[in-house]
């Protein structure tokens, strides 16, 4: 059996709820149906990132840069436990001398492991498994922003995604990549979803003189919480092209494609730290914030660098939490937790600092802070 969720939330008038109505199938049935809608249409952005430019040959810096050659991004991910379809959206800006159209080749791979250096294959724990492509897009209009969307099922065990973009016709700017759950227009009824969501079928409660029981009432709350907590939201992101290639500049080992990396002089005698990113994110009416941090950092030094960075999160009530970041070249994780004032305009501030050893460079591939409200 499949259930078609409503396309809209049905919001009862204040007097229909504030003054408790007669005990009947309604408004409970309505509330439960709303949870079906929530399952089908609650689509927070799992990933939302604006990649930095890639090649020093093309205006290195934080300004979006026209990219002429294949570029790879490795991004942590925290997908739904229900194995949902996700919409992957690329926003690109082609720029070709003389105008015309451009095409691109897109590829998405996933892994459930932590090492981005593994090869490709079919075992996600140890390999990159192809999810999409490489496939050429339809022609994109020159000198304007174009969006291409692909719907893919994201395995609930996925830990990282690898995006590869290759220009076919000429340079471009990759402006933004977003991943969000696809609309679900038909909910199957297998009993319980891994997220905890229980599809609601009205046949039981709508029968004549049906029992109004505690499970039905509880399901309104548990379903809402299950969906909310299962669909992690991207609170903050910092993503740069993935590379393992290193070079040397003035005696310092560095990543030639790194747009923002912390380089420490070859004559230096101590580590050197620098802020590479700051952001603020609104958390309306949330009193506490728990962020699940996933990140990849590498450095050109030969060994693992513990404490290669710091993530600082500050609540608008002044509470501060710091997470020490390690440079391992692999997916790492941590949790940050602060409180906020709980106002409609409450927010947290996020700051990332990197540290480099003398004569080396530290480079952040990606850092994503995922937020699961109430969890």
């Amino acid at each position: 059996m499949a259930i078609t969720p409503g396309t809209k939330l049905v919001i009862k008038k204040a007097q229909e709820i504030a003054v408790f109505p007669a005990m009947s199938a309604q408004p409970l049935q309505n509330a439960l149906a709303n949870t079906n809608h929530l399952y089908g249409y609650f689509r927070p952005l799992l990933l939302s990132w604006s990649p930095m430019g890639s090649s020093p040959a093309y205006n290195p810096g934080i300004t979006p840069t026209f990219i002429p050659d294949p570029v790879v991004y490795v991004v942590p991910v925290l997908p739904s436990q229900d194995g949902l379809h996700y919409d992957f959206m690329w926003t690109l800006f082609p720029k070709i001398a003389g105008g015309g159209t451009s095409r691109f080749t897109l590829q998405v791979e996933w892994t459930s492991g932590v090492d981005p250096t593994v090869g490709t294959g079919s075992t996600p724990a140890t390999k990159w498994v192809n999810l999409y492509g490489p496939a050429m897009t339809s022609p994109l209009t020159d000198s304007v922003w174009n969006t291409r969307t692909i719907s893919l099922v994201l395995d609930r065990t996925a830990t990282m995604l690898r995006f590869t973009v290759t220009a076919v016709d000429g340079p471009y700017t990759l402006g933004h990549v977003a991943v969000q759950p696809s609309v679900i227009t038909s909910i199957t009824t297998p009993a319980t979803y891994a997220s905890g969501f229980l599809p609601f079928d009205p046949s039981f409660i709508s029968q004549a003189r049906a029992p109004i029981n505690t499970e039905m009432v509880d399901r309104c709350k548990t379903n809402a919480l299950s969906v909310l907590r299962d669909r992690a939201q991207c609170l903050a992101s910092l993503v740069q092209p993935y590379t393992t290639t290193t070079g040397s500049l003035g005696g310092v080992s560095y990543y030639p494609r790194g747009i923002m990396q912390v380089m420490n002089g070859s004559a230096a005698s101590a580590n050197f730290s620098q802020t590479i990113g700051m952001a603020a994110a609104g958390l309306p009416a949330q009193k506490t914030f728990t962020g699940h941090v996933r990140y990849l950092i590498n450095d050109t030094a030969p060994s693992v660098f513990v404490g290669a960075g710091t993530l600082t999160v500050t609540g608008d009530d002044g509470s501060v939490n710091q997470l020490s970041l390690d440079s391992t070249g692999q997916l790492e994780h941590g949790v940050v937790q602060v409180t906020t004032l709980g106002n409609p305009d409450s927010f947290v501030k996020v700051q990332v600092d990197l540290t480099a050893k003398p004569a080396y460079s530290t480079y952040l591939y990606a850092l994503i802070i995922f937020w699961t409200p109430g969890a």
Binding site: A22, M23, P190, A191, D201, S203, I205, R209, A210, E215
Partner: protein, 914 residues
């Protein structure tokens, strides 16, 4: 109260009672240990209280009034009791009215046979001691013995009879006390009273007055039925001032600053001014002091002839003080004119007539006179003139000279005065009404309402002279008032001789109104007679304006604290005969979710106080646990009723305010006295089906917008809270110190309550105690608690997750679920006399939830915390039992047992959250 702790240790309590004016302490048992209160000379162990209904109080949230429960007691027929009950042997009558503060002499017709060894007599309800006597007097009086209050006793009345035994029982105050008593029969403490005294461990548990009795109850007892202290507050107040209407006449108030300006212009035969000292003008202030006359107090009522005479005297005195020759003013007459207000004619003075004597000079042919007055207080009307005919040689018969116009003030001037900020009333022409009072009174308020039959006439001035009160500035309240046409009332021809009464209006802060309404008697605040405070601290209003309760009946501090906290500053307009405390204050109390109730206070005495009736608050001194519940007399917790679900609150405000008050704009045509109705209801909602409207009346004096906002807030709070409240009755141990109005914590697991939010039996949260009554026989305390939430039916249906089963998933033998459902299923089978009961099986989120599958169980066991349900039959289990996922719930109503149908089913008439 610690007194009830005695029960917790296997002790008992010994009740004892006093009856006002009776020299005896009536006890249940011989009070070994403490001595009786020093005011009394004897005790008698003949009190029987266990035939009384439970005593205590409850509050009615829809009226804001407490409802003290009645108390019934009996006295065994023994010599002491019979001695008081016996008809008096000797009686006489007061020969002279005995005032409340008289402590020297009581004059009676004869003291023969009256003198007794007790040295006290009974007059009405009062017991009065004496130390000496003559043939017609008792001297050295001690007023207010044995808990009575000194009162004035009128000679020549039935109440003025003086007896050697109590003649009247109804109305006597009764107080019931309790003191801990050990197993050995010894009571604690050194003395039984007074409560609060050093060495006294007794507390007062009930206070009221005798309503019926004594009568023989068939068991050789004298039985009394008594009403609680707060019952008086629903009694209408009597008219404070009554009398007979005397013939109305014209007149009005006068003021010393009213002036009269006269210009005399003597003219010759050619009707031209003769010059010389003429024209000559002067001004007099007739009602201020002048030669031979003292000033009139502002606002003094004066008849028209008296006013005219005073004007004549003032002019005469003025002319006498001048040099030169002037005519003599022979007479002044005011003539009534007639006005009309909205089609109603009324009378007012409109013409002044000056009669001049001979011309002082033979050359004077006539004299032209201009008169101007200040009767209109700052807005003089245009000058008028007239002629005398005192011409040369022919001025022997003076003619009246009339000045037309409004001499006294027309109603137009009312508005003028008020706009000028004057506090003095004017526009007072027209009739005065006099009332020959039935009884002398100390004072009559200067504003109020005269009630004659069905007529209600507002008056703006009153002058009390002896037993006659003169009223002016009259306005028939049945007629609309217009600021442009003013006051006026023409008394009907047959009004003379009719009986009438006065209703007064008092304006004050709400808290003051409450206290004064409770305590006012027309006496002097704090008046002490023989060491007894006769009049309460707040006895500030005239007779008929309050209940005259003494301080010992009123917890003034509590009332002050509670009302200021809950109501704050808000001015009320109260007063009037034929209306009760409930009529006047109840609306305010119910809106502010408070109530007045008689209950034992922290000092162990029963007094009237204000309690909170809302569910707000988050701190409770007392929490009721399972261990406090009493099961001996049945279920310790029962649902009394779901409280009315208020969806609309209508506050009808009678606002006394100036017409300029913008809040009265919708009813501005009513002028100074306006009524406005404010309707408060749920945002966007109306009176809903199944909802009720709560109506409250209250009179505000000069309402402010903050007052209206406050009332709207109260209304919203009532609506909000009433959606999910229910009254439950808890029967608990005697020693829980809970009183009516207390916020109580509840943490019980009794299955009569089902916390559907957590899916368990019981309830945890706060409750407001709306009633606390005590079973005198066993001491049990029965509480009516208002709880947040609570089902109209017993609760939502359970949905027990299948945790295991034996047999097949579609052919179960025993189904297991969490042990917390054991009580539920056990009761279900018990209620069905052990016969099998049906349970529906469904799998949330799986396929079609309504598979129609069910099992029938005929036994339930609790094994190691797991509930075992024995399946006797099953059907339609197309969705198989699945551990941890599928559930058992009650079937739809058509398949329910009676007990199962008590739990919530669609369309069963119950309400969500209620």
């Amino acid at each position: 109260m610690a007194i009830w702790d005695a029960y917790a240790y296997g002790w008992n309590v010994n009740y004892f009672a006093t009856i006002a004016g009776i020299d005896a302490v009536w006890t249940e048992a011989y009070p070994q240990g403490p001595t009786i209160p020093p005011a009394y000379s004897q005790w008698e162990p003949s009190l029987v209280v266990d035939n009384s209904a439970e005593i205590g109080s409850s509050v009615d949230r829809s009226t804001g009034m407490g409802q003290g429960l009645p108390f019934t007691f009996s006295l065994l027929s023994n010599p002491i009791a019979r001695g008081f009950m016996r008809q008096d042997q000797n009686r006489t009558n007061l020969d002279v009215t005995l005032t409340a503060d008289e402590t020297t002499t009581m004059t009676v017709q004869s003291t023969a046979g009256l003198i007794n060894a007790n040295s006290y007599v009974h007059v009405g309800l009062e017991c009065i001691g004496y130390s000496g006597s003559t043939g017609t007097t008792l001297t050295g009086l001690t007023r207010g013995l044995f808990g009575t209050l000194p009162a004035t006793h009128y000679a020549g009345t039935v109440a003025g009879q003086v007896c050697d035994r109590p003649d009247v029982w109804r109305g006597r105050e009764v107080r019931l006390y309790a003191v801990p008593m050990g197993p050995d029969g010894v009571c604690t403490g050194a003395v039984l009273g007074p409560v609060g005294a050093a060495g006294c461990e007794a507390v007062e548990v009930w206070r009221g007055s005798i309503d019926q009795g004594p009568y023989r109850d068939g068991n050789d007892r004298f039985t009394f039925e008594c009403l609680a202290l707060d019952r008086i507050l629903t009694n209408p107040l009597p008219a404070g001032v009554t009398g007979t209407i005397l013939p109305p006449y014209l007149g009005g108030p006068v003021y010393p600053d009213q002036w009269l300006s006269i210009t005399l212009d003597a003219q010759n035969s050619g009707w031209t001014s003769i010059g010389g000292i003429y024209p000559f003008g002067f001004t007099v202030w007739p009602f201020a002091a002048f030669t031979g006359y003292t000033a009139i107090a502002p606002g003094t009522l004066m008849t028209v002839p008296d006013q005219a005479a005073r004007v004549q005297a003032a002019v005469t005195a003025k002319l006498a003080s001048l040099s030169g020759s002037y005519p003599t003013l022979l007479g002044v007459t005011f003539h009534p004119g007639y006005g009309s207000s909205n089609g109603v004619d009324y009378t007012r003075m409109s013409t002044i007539e000056l009669k001049w004597g001979d011309a002082p000079d033979s050359t004077i042919k006539g004299m032209r006179t201009w008169v101007d007055t200040s009767w209109n207080k700052g807005n003089p009307w245009s000058t008028n003139f007239g002629f005398g005919n005192g011409g040369i040689g022919s001025v022997k018969n003076p003619e009246p000279m009339q000045i037309s116009g409004y001499w006294t003030n027309g109603s137009v001037l009312v508005a003028s005065n008020e706009s000028n900020g004057s506090t003095a009333l004017s526009g007072d022409g027209g009739y005065l009404v006099q009332l020959q009072l039935d009884n002398a009174t100390a004072a009559v308020p200067t504003t109020g309402t005269l009630i004659i039959d069905t007529m209600a006439i507002q008056y703006g001035h009153a002058l009390l002279q002896g037993n006659v009160v003169t009223l002016s500035t009259l306005w028939d309240l049945s007629q609309p008032y217009s600021a442009n046409t003013g006051w006026g009332w023409n008394p009907p021809a047959d009004v003379t001789g009719k009986k009438a009464s006065l209703q007064f209006a008092q304006q004050d802060l709400a808290v003051n109104c409450v206290l004064k309404l409770l305590q006012s008697s027309g006496g002097t605040s704090g008046d002490v007679v023989g060491g007894v405070v006769v009049h309460g601290t707040n006895d500030a209003w005239p007779v008929g304006q309050g209940y005259g309760l003494p301080d010992q009946h009123v917890d003034a501090q509590n009332i002050q604290d509670m009302l200021m906290a809950k109501i704050g500053t808000m001015n009320l307009l109260v007063g009037g005969s034929g209306v009760s405390f409930q009529d006047q204050i109840g609306g305010l109390l119910l809106l502010s979710q408070t109530a007045i109730v008689a209950r034992p206070d922290k000092t162990g005495t029963v007094r009237l106080g204000i309690v909170d009736t809302s569910l707000s608050g988050s701190y409770a001194e007392v929490t009721i646990y399972d261990k406090h519940l009493l099961c001996a007399a049945g279920e310790p917790i029962t649902a009394i009723r779901k409280r009315d679900r208020v969806t609309q609150v209508v506050a009808s405000l009678a606002a006394y305010s100036k017409s300029t008050n913008p809040l009265l704009a919708p009813v501005k045509e009513f002028g100074d006295y306006g009524t406005a109705n404010y309707t408060i209801q749920m945002p966007g909602g109306q009176l809903e089906v199944g909802g009720v409207q709560l109506s409250a009346n209250l009179s505000l004096s000069d309402p402010k917008s903050t007052d209206i906002a406050k009332i709207e807030g109260w209304g919203s709070a009532i609506i909000q809270q009433s959606q999910y409240v229910m009254s439950m009755e808890f029967r608990v141990v005697p020693w829980l110190p809970v009183q009516t109005g207390d916020l109580v914590g509840i943490d019980v697991t009794h299955p009569a309550l089902w916390d559907w939010r957590r899916g368990v039996e019981g309830f945890s949260g706060y409750a407001r105690c709306l009633g606390a009554r005590r079973d005198l026989a066993g001491g049990a305390l029965i509480l009516e608690l208002l709880i947040q939430g609570g089902p109209e039916t017993l609760s939502l249906c359970p949905a027990a997750t299948v945790t295991a089963f034996s047999g097949g998933s579609t052919t179960p033998i025993v189904i297991y679920c969490d042990g917390r459902f054991y009580n539920f299923f056990y009761q279900m089978l018990q209620a069905n006399n052990g016969a099998a009961c049906r349970l529906y099986h469904y799998w949330p989120g799986k396929g079609t939830e309504n598979s129609g599958g069910y099992v029938e169980i005929n036994d339930v066991q609790l094994v190691s915390g797991v509930c075992h349900l024995t399946v006797s039959s099953y059907a339609n289990l197309t969705e198989s039992l699945t551990v941890g996922l599928s559930r058992l719930t009650l079937p739809p109503t058509p398949y329910c047992t009676d007990w199962q149908s008590l739990f919530s089913h669609a369309e069963d008439g119950s309400h969500w959250g209620a």
